[in-house]
Amino acid sequence: MTRLLWLCLALAALLCGCEKAKQDMYDQARYKAYASSPLWADGTSARTAPAHTVVAAVGDSAGSSSGRQSAALDTAQPALTPALLRQGQQRYDIFCAPCHSVVGDGDGYVVRRGFPRPQSLHSDRLRQLDDASLYRIISDGYGVMLPFASRLNPQERWATVAYIRALQLSQHASVAQLPPALRQTVEAAR
């Protein structure tokens, strides 16, 4: 009798193997990112905040700060550091260079394929534009350029602004501003 019981148990264990054919743990009853859903009118399971929501807490610690980490703090301009510039360069090359080109003259690949050509970032007008206006252009868009607010977080937008300043300086520095070592090489080459 016990032998039969053991045999039944062993046979039952074989049932585990059926999962691979049955697949009901492969597709569990939950939504993965970007899954569609018939529950809502727009057909997606990803929900956005209702219209006119006032953001109280944002950023990495929003969830744990119960609103103390305010939106204003998150959008404040960070201090200029080499790390910020490097981040700005990376983001600029990904998100802006397709149109504005890596050097900022507005001759990117997409422009060559027929997108309206933006003004060079090295014009006097854009050099004089203040940081806050540049930040606003990235966040809200400008003319035919769509906003980047959903793709760059505030910190990344400030980093991009900082890098645009560096790009502009690279084309508009006087010899007197250079560090002494560099100045000597330039003057020797004259």
């Binding site: 743990m25 492969y26 569990q28 993965k32 970007y34 394929r113």
Partner: protein, 216 residues
């Protein structure tokens, strides 16, 4: 003792037993076959808009992160919102019939229903950011996406495939600036691999092959 079955019956009995055996063998065969991965990949998946990585990545030089924004920040790489397409296609190919679904989606706010090319079982945990930030290039897993007119799956995504790399990730590593690049890099020498392993502080083999790393 008298014979129970006639000779004639014995033949039938033998044939019956043989058939039973053959049936069992066939059954095992069918079940094994049905447990194979559905398709190993290589077949292009039809999409609502015939989006071409070949044109956008290879010809226009657009970085993966322009569209797959969260690939270096989180678990999922993310599929581009309609707004991302409209960044360029509000002006380029403004009236092309091919792009009608994109314009409809922009007007109505209903996202484009991209068909999934990759789909891991829900019991496996995968995270893009750790791979990408530790030098595993997109190409290692997704193949030459820049040459795909329509996207297809390059790897089987079976557990064996994950483990093959997790047991010895060294030869699959790339320098940080090579991670988003598509053409293959020059083969690294052993000392360069050792440098990269150290630079990325790759965890030991035990940790990478623990069941709970991927089944959590």
């Amino acid at each position: 003792m008298a014979q129970v079955f006639s000779r004639h019956d014995v033949l039938w009995l033998k044939l019956f037993l043989l058939a039973l055996l053959a049936l069992a063998a066939a059954g095992v065969g069918v079940v094994t076959w049905s447990m194979q991965p559905q398709d190993v990949g290589g077949a292009a998946v039809l999409q609502p808009v015939p989006f071409s990585h070949k044109h956008h990545v290879a010809d226009d030089g657009i970085d993966c992160r322009f569209c797959h924004t969260s690939v270096d920040k989180g678990r999922v790489a993310g599929l581009p919102a309609t707004e991302v397409c409209m960044t360029c296609h509000s002006q380029l190919f403004k009236d092309a019939p091919l792009l009608q679904p994109v314009r409809d989606s922009w007007a109505s706010g209903r996202p484009i229903a991209w068909a999934r090319v990759h789909d891991l079982p829900d019991f496996a945990y995968f995270d893009h950011s750790i791979h990408v930030n530790k030098g595993v290039a997109c190409m290692e897993c997704h193949g030459r996406v820049d040459q795909m007119p329509l996207t297809w799956r390059n790897a089987s995504l079976e557990m064996q495939w994950c483990l093959d790399c997790h047991r010895n990730p060294g030869p699959h590593l790339h320098r940080p600036e090579q991670v988003y690049h598509m053409p293959a890099q020059a083969v690294l020498t052993q000392s360069e691999i050792d440098d990269l392993l150290q630079q990325y502080q790759i965890a030991d083999r035990r940790r990478l092959t623990d069941c709970s790393t991927c089944h959590r």
